[in-house]
């Protein structure tokens, strides 16, 4: 805490930054990913309803379609980014200790990346005929 070098008040220094220290970025990113997810999710729900009870071969053929594969990949990346933002908000609301807060925030990122990597790899494997 510098005493005299900063002319701004303590309130002025932190205003707009929030608990995650990144201002309105979180809010805006959650809105943009959320907007995209409205359309992406409707597509995926339609796809899954149409694949209801489908055989192994039919499911793989549908997932190997380039357009389906691309939309699913974008949905997964967008969805995981969106949910990571949401879970970050939940953690910042309920985790009061500094240690537990940072531990949970790191686990949140690990979980999102892991689910995304596994799903994306599986989709690419099917798309490239693996």
């Amino acid at each position: 805490m510098s005493k005299s070098s900063d002319m701004r008040t303590p309130l002025g220094r932190v205003r707009g930054l929030g608990a995650a220290r990144e201002g309105t970025g979180h809010f805006w990113q959650s809105r943009v990913t959320g907007l995209a997810l409205v359309f992406l999710t409707l597509f995926v729900v339609g796809l899954l309803v149409s694949l209801n009870g489908a055989s192994y071969a039919d499911v793989r053929a549908a997932l190997a379609n380039p357009l389906v594969s691309l939309v699913l990949l974008v949905t997964i990346v967008t969805g995981l980014y969106h949910m990571r933002l949401g879970m970050q908000e939940i953690i910042l609301d309920y985790a009061h200790g500094e240690f537990s807060k940072y531990l949970l925030l790191i686990l949140n990122t690990f979980f999102s990346v892991a689910v995304g990597a596994v799903s994306a790899f599986a989709l690419l494997k099917i798309a490239f005929g693996g």
């Binding site: 192994y56 596994v118 799903s119 099917i126």
Partner: protein
């Protein structure tokens, strides 16, 4: 006149949530958060399914069997509702972001619309699923 580096006393907290009368907007706020958290872990079901599709046929059939069991269908029904109620809740937030429909009674009607709309859409999706299954 410098500020102390640490707070001298704890800041006042708002009363605990249990002290408030439950209102529709409050209920839907809670459902939005809980459904979001459920969807967060629900992504594991999606990852499991696409992984199974990328693997051998026997394993895919096993996973499809789990999802096709009565318990699997119940979980997927819940997943669908969480998805739809969270989506409608998100759209409700988009409306509010423009400054519209924030008035008390309007916000209450919008909260009920989110709840009933999500139930109707979820049941409609599953009606299509069962209808398609019967037709196949």
């Amino acid at each position: 006149m410098s500020q102390p580096a640490t707070r001298a006393k704890p800041r006042p907290l708002s009363p605990h949530v249990m002290h408030y009368k439950m209102l529709p907007t409050m209920l839907m706020s809670g459902i939005h958060r809980v459904s979001g958290a459920a969807l967060y872990f629900g992504t594991l079901l999606v990852a499991w399914w696409v992984t199974a599709a990328a693997g051998p046929e026997d394993y895919f059939n096993f996973v499809a069997g789990v999802y096709g069991s009565w318990f699997g269908q119940l979980v997927l029904f819940g997943f669908t509702w969480a998805l739809i109620v969270h989506m409608l809740g998100g759209i409700r937030h988009f409306i509010w972001d423009t400054g519209a429909m924030l008035e008390k009674h309007t916000a209450t009607k919008l909260a009920w619309a989110t709840l009933f709309g999500s139930i109707i859409i979820t049941v409609a999706i599953w009606a299509v699923i069962f209808w398609a299954r019967g037709a196949a």
